[in-house]
């Protein structure tokens, strides 16, 4: 394959023909914010976080799906791009119910991490607080639609890595939702192999292992009584 040379953020780099801007930027040590991208499955260019400016193009292009060309001049960072990325994150937070404090993914959530790294310190839009359900019918996993950002990583992993084709997207617009088989409870799915790849691919807390949610945390209530007794009654033995 022929090699191509291009400029990314003023840095001259070479790359193989057919590589995407995202591949080349990552190789060059430039970290682009991504959310719907997942190494190993094809890209769809849906989250609009990795949009970059390419000289001579009047449109912003998603780095994950745009193939490089000779002499391309790419800018991955600008005041305008930063603003758009922050707004995209704000829109995601306002769209469904993302409450980090009680989320299974708190601390290891890609959405949360991106919000920190992109300087999204608050959401200026009104939260839409929609009512979404939780599917806890599967014996190992659960799906909380309140946390879903519709990146469809789980769908791609399910179809193209596991080959089970259990997960899918149904409906459109804000009503779009991830479904199992023909919109059946996950626990009833005959195609799900319970491989757990979807859970591992989920950037947020929408898909989770059972037992990991805040509500499922085991509390030792007796310990509380012990402390109170110890403090107030100076009683150290239960």
């Amino acid at each position: 394959m022929a090699a191509k040379t291009l400029t990314i953020d003023g840095k001259e780099v070479s790359a193989e023909e057919g590589a995407t801007i995202l591949d080349v930027a990552t190789d060059a040590g430039i970290k682009l914010p991504t959310l719907c991208h997942l190494d190993g499955v094809y890209d769809v260019g849906a989250c609009s976080l990795c949009l970059v400016e390419v000289a001579g193009m009047n449109k912003l292009l998603p780095a994950c799906t745009t193939k490089i060309s000779e002499g391309m001049d790419v800018k991955t960072d600008s005041e305008r791009l930063r603003k758009y990325r922050r707004m995209t994150l704000e829109l995601l937070f306002a769209e469904r119910n993302h409450v980090c404090a009680v989320c299974v993914a708190n601390g290891h959530c890609e959405l949360q991490t991106l919000a920190y790294s992109q300087g999204m310190d608050h959401v200026r839009y009104d939260y839409s607080t929609p009512k979404w359900s939780v599917d806890a019918t599967h014996r190992l996993f659960g799906m909380d639609h309140n946390r879903c950002i519709l990146c469809a990583r789980c769908v791609r992993v399910c179809w193209h890595i596991e080959g089970a084709g259990t997960k899918n997207v149904s409906g459109r617009g804000a009503r779009a939702t991830i479904i199992t088989d023909l919109n059946q409870p996950w626990g009833d799915s005959e195609t799900c192999t319970a491989c757990g790849k979807c859970v591992m691919s989920c950037p947020t807390g929408a898909l989770f292992h059972k037992g990991s949610t805040a509500a499922e945390m085991e509390h030792d209530r007796d310990k509380l009584e012990f402390i109170v007794n110890a403090r107030e009654k100076k009683q150290w033995l239960p």
């Binding site: 769809v44 260019g45 849906a46 989250c47 609009s48 949009l51 449109k59 912003l60 292009l61 998603p62 799906t65 745009t66 193939k67 603003k83 758009y84 707004m87 995209t88 829109l91 995601l92 306002a94 769209e95 608050h122 200026r124 839009y125 009104d126 839409s128 950002i149 519709l150 469809a152 997207v169 409906g171 459109r172 617009g173 804000a174 009503r175 779009a176």
Partner: protein, 548 residues
């Protein structure tokens, strides 16, 4: 089929023409007001009067003045009858023998008809769309013969480039350039798609073309397929157009029977078949990449371009996608010559454009005018202005992707570039007229709601951004919005426009942006004082917090 056979069909058809032709509109608009029974009664009345040998009652495509339907015309009287009821049929037939009728007479000399220039709609309202012989008698399939037997594919592309035809789907991409790109791509398999997924509210041009003259689209597609080297075509038509689908199916069947579609057309090595694919009700499937996904049987969602369909389209093969009206322009261009076509219109927008006039206007219906016709001539002269002496406030073009053009700018010539300059687009041809009673913020809200409903949900800006914009517009309309909300709305318009994945999202802010540009006062009048005063990003000033 050779040219002599084609000419024989045309001659036979012309010879069979009766002295008088009563045309009865059989397009969806008139049929919804019972034109089918009108036609049946006319036929019966003609038979009863013993005129069957002299008078033909012909069901034709759209007769254009839709608001006055069902329409009936009698060619020997040069008369147009409006709002004809089934009971009027007998009386109308009696006029042929000198009787009088009280049925409302239309005026073919009205600017609505006089100022039209028909290229695409030449056969509309003239011929029976359900008979291929009628199309052949009107020089049908002559262009295909000319192309197949006398021109090389390269020469066809050159003719299209020379004609200056631009895509009639809305964006106005040069058709010849698109054909040339697909033609140059090396591939054993190529496809041609006709985009008949017309979905803009208030637009019905493509439907009328398909219902009135389906063969012109088939012929255009066949010419295109020859030029680019494709052997399979698809027409993607929305399910909401059952009559158009029925007439297309019928037309394809007839063309196949006569050997005008299929293998070895006109005894040349060229093969071409057309299949119909029916949409399932998603507006976004009018976007070419979503349309192709839908044809492939997948969920109709767009994908980023490049690669463009010309390079990688249906099943990864080079694919030519054009709109119904674009294809319908092709046979006349090749029949009459590219120079003839290039002589019509403006410098950068050639030919004519079909518009569907709707809204607060006296004459609603279908018009075809040369590019560069001033908007004022269309809405005031041809459309007859606002009904009941109202005043026109704005004209909306381009549907949810377009904008509102204020009355002050009515002298603008209608062409791609002038409309873009005004913040609207040519669009596919929907033209909705609004009068003084229309609140422009309502208009913006209506189109935004449409986009929220029709967003496929794939990319974040379009899915979540349009929902937030709708929320802000509703807040402003409910008199709960502040200047801060308006600023947020404008910021979102800019963001959604620049970051959305496909045309739907990229143009969704246009109705809001254009109403903000020309009718900002209407927004501002609805705003409430900000309880926190001016601040940045929701931060209240220290002094204000202290007094709370």
């Amino acid at each position: 089929m050779v040219i002599d056979d084609l000419n024989a069909i045309a001659e036979k058809e012309q010879a069979a023409r009766k002295k008088t032709v009563i045309r009865c509109c059989m397009a969806a608009g008139c049929m919804s007001s019972n034109s089918e029974t009108v036609k049946k009664n006319l036929e019966q009345a003609v038979k009863d009067a013993g005129l069957a040998d002299e008078v033909e009652v012909r069901g034709v495509g759209c007769m254009k003045l839709c608001c006055e339907g069902p329409l009936v015309s009698v060619d020997t009287q040069d008369a147009l009858y409006e709002k004809v009821t089934p009971e009027d049929a007998l009386e109308l037939v009696k006029t042929l023998k000198g009787g009088k009728t009280k049925v409302k007479r239309g005026d073919f000399n009205h600017p609505f008809f006089k100022k039209q220039l028909s290229i695409v709609l030449t056969n509309s309202g003239e011929i029976d769309p359900e008979r291929i012989e009628a199309y052949i008698a009107a020089d049908g399939y002559q262009a295909l013969h000319h192309v197949l037997r006398e021109l090389t594919p390269k020469e066809v592309v050159e003719a299209m480039v020379k004609s200056g035809l631009r895509g009639r789907g809305g964006a106005g991409f040069p058709t010849g350039l698109k054909w040339g790109t697909v033609a140059k791509t090396q591939s054993a398999q190529k496809y041609v798609i006709c985009n008949a997924d017309e979905g803009d509210p208030g637009a019905f041009m493509d439907r009328s073309v398909l219902e009135s003259d389906p063969h012109s689209v088939l012929e255009g597609m066949a010419v295109a397929a020859y030029a680019v080297g494709a052997n399979q075509g698809f027409i993607y038509c929305r399910a909401e157009y059952p009559l158009a689908i029925k007439r297309l199916q019928n037309a394809i069947k007839q063309a196949k029977t006569l050997g005008l579609l299929g293998s070895g057309i006109f005894e040349s090595p060229f093969n071409f078949n057309i299949d119909i694919r029916i949409g399932a009700g998603a507006f976004v499937c009018g976007e070419e990449t979503a349309l192709m996904a839908s044809v492939e049987g997948k969920r109709g969602t767009p994908r980023p371009r490049p690669p463009f369909p010309a390079e990688s389209g249906l099943w990864g093969c080079p694919t030519l996608i054009n709109n119904v009206e674009t294809f319908a322009n092709v046979p006349p261009i090749l029949r009459k010559g590219a120079e003839w076509f290039a002589g019509i219109g403006t410098e950068k927008s050639k030919g004519t454009k079909v518009f569907a006039l709707a809204g607060k206007i006296t004459n609603t219906g279908l018009i075809e005018v040369p590019m560069g016709t001033p908007l004022r001539q269309i809405v005031e002269e041809m459309g007859g202005g606002a009904p009941d002496g109202g005043k026109i406030k704005a004209v909306q073009t381009g549907g949810p992707s377009g904008g509102c053009i204020p009355a002050e700018a009515l002298d603008t010539p209608v062409d791609y570039d002038s409309l873009t300059k005004l913040g609207s687009i040519m669009g596919s041809g929907g033209m909705i007229v609004m009068d003084e009673t229309t609140r422009m913020v309502d208009v913006a809200r209506y189109f935004m709601e449409f986009c929220v409903d029709e967003s496929c949900g794939k990319c974040v800006p379009c899915r979540a951004g349009t929902a937030q914009m709708l929320h802000l517009l509703e807040k402003i309309l409910n008199r709960q919005g502040t200047a801060r909300d308006l600023a947020k709305l404008e910021e979102l318009c800019d963001m959604v426009k620049n970051t959305s994945l496909c045309g739907l999202g990229q143009t969704a802010p246009n109705p809001t942006l254009s109403t903000l540009r020309y009718f900002r006062k209407e927004y501002e009048e609805l705003l409430q004082p900000d309880p926190f005063g001016p601040g940045r990003n929701g931060e209240a000033k220290k002094s204000q917090l202290a007094t709370k």
